[in-house]
Assembly symmetry: D2
Homo-oligomer: 330 residues x 4
C-alpha cells in the first residue's frame, strides 16, 4: 500500500485502528459506496459487470453486519478498509474498484455527515413527540394552580399548564436548532479525495442526490479538514440536554415530599430495600445528569480541532466518539 | 421595597450587586426604556407629560453614561435600578413610572437579547470583511503552488489560493451560524413581568417593532427563565473561534524558518532584545490562543443553566460574563 | 424490596440500569465483598458457615466474570445486585447476608474509590516507564544540537537531550499528581450505609486494612455524597494528557519534511495508497488528540456534581463513565 | 530592540499588549526584581551603586502603582517592560541593569508562580475560616433532627450537625488540595532566561530563598514552557467551587417555603418591589452559580496548552486571565 517495508508493530496497529470509533458508521458507509459505484458506472469509470458485482458484495456485507456476523480482521484499520476488504473477498477483483476516485479522507467525512444528519433528524422527531406530550399534559392541567417561583421562592401563582408550556417552547427552539444542524450537515464532502480532488470525471451531484445531500462542499481542502457540522449538531444537542436537565431537576424537586407536586408511577420509580417507604425518581435524576456529558463532548471536539493545521489529520477520528458515546450512554 | 426590615449587610450588597456584569447593558437598557415608555403613553398607562419627563431624563442619563460621568451609588444593585434611580433624581416622581408594567426579570432578559443580537450582527459584519480579505489574497495567489498536507506530511500539491479559500468557506458557514443566532435572539421577552405577565393592557408588538425584534416570546415563564439565545451566540462564536485558531496556527507554522511560507511584516511582529534575529508572530499566536476561552464561556453558561428550576434565578446573572469577557479580552 | 406494587416499566428498567457504567467494577466489588464478609464473621454478625458459603460463592462468581460467562439478567440493576443475585443462586440463602450492614450507596463509593486508586497507581507505573525511556533517549542525545524555539521561531541552540528532559520533568510532576490523587482515594467509604451509618457493630478499620485503604471517611453523609477523589484523579489525568499532547504535537512537527528532526520507524507509521511516499505519524497525532477528551471528562463530572443536594443521587452513576471511556479509548 | 525596522502597527500593538492580563502581577514583579537585583549585586554582576539606585527606583514605582498613579504608556507591552521603563526614567541608566540575566519568559513564569502560590495560601486561610464556622454551626445544631435524603427523598433521620460536618470534611480535603497546589507552584523558574539559561554566574537559590520558593525548576526549557502549576491551582479551585455550589444549592432549597429548614436574615436577602412577601437567597444562588466559571477557566487553560510546542509561546499570556477573572468576579 505504501513505501513502508517493515510491517506495523502490533501495538501501533491496535492504537491506530479507529474501528472502535467508526464501526457505527457501517450503514452510512455502505449506502455511500452504493451511490458511489452507481455514479462511477454511470460515468463509465466502472464497467456495469463490476458495478453489479460490487452492489451484490455490498448487499452481502450489509447482511453480515446487520446480523452481527461480519468477520472483522485484526488488520482492519477502520470500517472503510474492513468493508472494502470483505467486498473484495466476496466480489473478487471488482472489489478493488470500490476505492476508485475516493480517499478515506472524503469517505469518512461523508459517512460522518450522513450520520450527523440522521441523528439530527431523529432528534427532531423525538422532540416533536415530546412537545406533543407536553402539550397534552398542559391541556389536561390548563387550570391547575401552581406557585410560580423566582429564586425558588413562591412569587406569583401560575397554572401548571402554563409552566409545562415553557418547556414546550424551549424544545420548539431546540427542534429548530437541530433543523439548522441538519442543514449544516447537508453538504457532500465526497469528491474531495485525499484533499485535492480526484482524477476522474465524476458526478458529485448525482451522489449527493442519491444520498440526500442538498449541496456540495465546494472546496476540497475544506471538505476533508473540518467537522464543524458535528460541532453544530453537538451545540444543538447540548442546549437541548441542558433544557432536559432543567425538566429533570424540576421533576426531582416536585416529587420530594416537601413539594409533593407530583407522584411518580411505581413503574417509573426505584425503591430501597432498607427504606421501603421510598420511591426514587431515578429517571428524572438521569434526565438531569446527562447534560454535562453532552456539553463535554462539544467542548472536546472543539479541543481536538483547536489549532489543527489543514487538511486531514488523524485527530479527526475523535469526532466520532462524542456522537457514539451520546448514542450509547443516552 | 419589601418586607425586609433590616438593612442589607455591606458584604451581601457587594456580592449581590450585578453592576460589574450588567453595566455594559446600559445602551440597551435606555433604548428599551424609551420604547417601553412610549408604548405605555400610547396605551394611556402613562400621561404624556410623564412620558416627556421620562424621555428627557433618559436622554440626560444616556449623556452621563456615554461621557463616563454617571454617578453610580453604592446602593445600586444593577444597571436597571441605577438608571431608574438617576432618572427619578432628574425627572422627579415621573421616574417611578419607569418600572410600571415591567420587572427586572423581563427587563434584563430583553437587554441581554438586544445585546446578543447586536454582537451577532457585528460578528457577521466582521466575518464579511474577513471573507473579502481572504478572497482578495486567494485571487492574488490563485496559481501559487503550495504543498497540500495530510498528517502534516506533504501529500499533493495545491494552490495557495485554494488553501485560503478553505478558510473562506469555513467563515461563510460561521456567518450563517451568527445569522441563525441573531434570529434566535430576535424574540422579545418584555411583557413577561417577573414571570406571570403584567397587569396592564400593554402592546408588546409596538415595543418589539421599535427595538427591532421579529417576534415575541410567547410564554412568560419561558421568557424569564432561560438564556438559550446566549448559548446560540456562544456556540457560533466558539465554532468561529476554533476556525480562527486553525488559521492562526497555520500562520505560526508558515512563518517558522523551517516552513518559510510567509514572512510577517515588521509592523505586525514582535522582536526580542536578546535575540535580535527574531520576528515573532504574536498576533497569529493570539488568534490561535483565544478559542479555548470562548468555548469555556459556552460550557460555563451550560453549567449555570444545568438543572436550574424555573423561572428566574440569580444564577442567570452569570449569562453576562461570557459575552463581556469575550468583548474585552478578544 | 419496597412498597412499589407495580412492576417496573421495561423502558424505565433499561434507562435505570447502570450496568453499562459499573460492570467494570466487578473485581473491586468482589474484593470488597470478601473483606466485608470476613469482617462480619469476625464480629459475629455472620456465622462462619455462611461466611464460607459466601466466600465460595464469590470465588465462583469471580471465575464466571473473568471468563466472560457470567449470566447477566435483564432485571440486574447494577453490578452489585447482579453479583448478589448470582451468589445467592450459588450459595443459597447465605447469599442474602452479603447485603448485611451495607447499602449500595457506600458499596459503590467504595468500588469507585478502589478503582480510582488502582488507576492512579497504574498511571504512576506507566509514567515511571515513560520517564525512564525519556531519560535514556536524552542521554543518547545529550550533545545533539537542536534549535530551541520560542514563538516557533528559532531562538537559541539547545541540546536534544535537554529538550527531552523538559518532558521528563513534566511527567515527574504528573506522577506526583497521581500520587496525590491516590492518597485522596485512600479513604474507605464503606460503613456509611445509605447515608446514616449501619446498625451493626462493624469494624471499618479491618475492612480498610484488607482493601488497602489508609483511612476512613469519617462522616457518613460525606461518604456517599461525593466523588471528589474522582475529580482528583481526572485532574491529574487531564494535566498529564495535556503534557502528552505537547509531546505528540512536537513529534508530528518534527517528522514533517520541513522540520525533518526525526524519522518515524515504518512499524509505527501508516501509509497511503494514493500517495506512496507518505509516512504518517498517526500515533503521535493520537497522542495529541486524546487530551481534550480527558479534560472533557473532568468538566463533565464537575457538571454532574454542580449544585447537587446531599446525600446520594442517581446522578453519581455518571462518575463512572469518564474513567471507563478513558480506559477504553485511551 | 531587534532587527525590526518598521514601527509596530497600532492595531498590532493594542492586540499584542498583555497589560490587561499581567497588570495584576505588579507586586510580584517588583518583589522579584528586588530579589534579582540583590542577588546580582551579591554576585558582582551589578555594582552596589546601581543596586541602590534600582532598589530606590523600585520603591518609587511601587508607590506609584499602589496609589494608582503609575504613568502607563501606550508603548508598554506588558507589566515587566512598563516597570523597567519607569525605573529607568527614575533611576537613570542603572535601570537598564534590571533586565540583566533575565528574560521576560522566565520573569513572567516567576511572577505567575508567586501569584499562584499566594492565591493558594489565601484559599487555605479562607477555607480554615469556613471550616471553623461550619464546626461552630454544627456544634450548635448537634442534636437538631433533620431528614437525611437520597434522591431528594426522605431516607433516614440525621442530625443537622452531622449534615453540616459533611461539608466540613469536603472543605478539609479542598484545603489539602490547595496545599498541594501551593507546593507545585513553589519551584522557581527564574534563571531559565528565554529558554536556555543565562550567561551570568547567578545564584538561583538566593533568589528562591528571598521569594519563598522551596526548589528550583531544574530544566530551563521546562521552566518557560508550561503553566501546569496554574492547572493545579485551578483544579483545586474548581473542586472547591463545586463543593461550594452544593452548599449554595442546599441553602436555596432549605430556604424555600416548602422545605423551610432555614430562614435567611434580612441583611442577607434581597426583596422584590412587586412581591413584598419575598426574601430571595441571592447570595446562596451566587454561591451555586460560580462553579461552572471556575471549571471553565481550568478547561480553557488546558485548551491553550493543548498541542503547544515548546518552549515559550505568546499563547501562555492566556494563563493569566482565569486567575484574574476568578479574582475579580468571585
Amino acid at each position: 500500500m505504501s513505501r513502508l517495508h517493515e510491517s506495523q508493530d502490533p501495538d501501533f496497529r491496535r492504537l491506530n485502528s479507529s474501528l472502535e470509533f467508526d464501526r457505527r458508521l457501517w450503514r452510512q458507509d455502505i449506502a455511500q459506496s452504493r451511490a458511489h459505484v452507481r455514479m462511477l458506472a454511470q460515468r463509465g469509470v466502472v464497467q456495469s459487470a463490476d458495478r453489479d458485482a460490487l452492489l451484490a458484495g455490498l448487499d452481502a456485507v450489509e447482511q453480515e453486519l446487520s446480523e452481527d456476523r461480519f468477520p472483522f480482521d485484526a488488520e482492519d484499520e477502520d470500517i472503510h478498509t474492513a468493508i472494502e476488504r470483505r467486498v473484495t473477498e466476496i466480489a473478487g477483483t471488482a472489489g478493488k474498484r470500490l476505492h476508485t476516485a475516493r480517499s478515506r479522507n472524503d469517505q469518512v467525512a461523508t459517512d460522518v455527515a450522513m450520520y450527523t444528519r440522521e441523528r439530527a433528524r431523529q432528534a427532531r422527531r423525538l422532540l416533536s413527540a415530546l412537545m406533543a406530550a407536553l402539550l397534552a399534559r398542559a391541556e389536561e392541567h390548563a387550570d391547575w394552580p401552581l406557585p410560580g417561583y423566582t429564586h425558588l421562592q413562591r412569587a406569583q401563582p401560575v397554572y401548571l399548564g402554563h409552566h409545562l408550556l415553557a418547556y414546550f417552547w424551549m424544545f420548539a427552539r431546540d427542534r429548530s436548532r437541530f433543523a439548522f444542524a441538519e442543514r449544516q450537515a447537508s453538504r457532500l464532502p465526497l469528491g474531495a479525495g485525499a484533499l485535492a480532488g480526484v482524477n476522474f470525471d465524476t458526478d458529485r451531484m448525482a451522489v449527493a442526490r442519491e444520498l440526500g445531500f442538498e449541496e456540495l462542499v465546494v472546496n476540497s481542502i475544506d471538505a476533508v479538514s473540518g467537522r464543524d457540522f458535528v460541532l453544530g449538531y453537538l451545540s444543538a444537542a447540548a442546549t437541548c440536554a441542558t433544557h432536559l436537565s432543567r425538566l429533570g431537576a424540576e421533576l426531582v424537586l416536585w416529587s420530594s415530599s416537601e413539594f409533593g407536586f407530583c407522584e411518580l408511577p411505581d413503574a417509573w420509580s426505584s425503591g430501597s430495600s432498607i427504606m421501603p417507604q421510598k420511591k426514587n425518581p431515578d429517571a428524572a435524576e438521569l434526565l438531569r445528569a446527562k447534560a454535562p456529558r453532552i456539553v463535554a463532548h462539544l467542548a472536546a471536539l472543539h479541543g481536538v480541532l483547536h489549532g489543527l493545521p489543514l487538511a486531514y489529520n488523524k485527530d479527526l477520528q475523535e469526532d466520532a466518539l462524542p456522537a457514539r458515546a451520546h448514542e450509547r450512554g443516552g
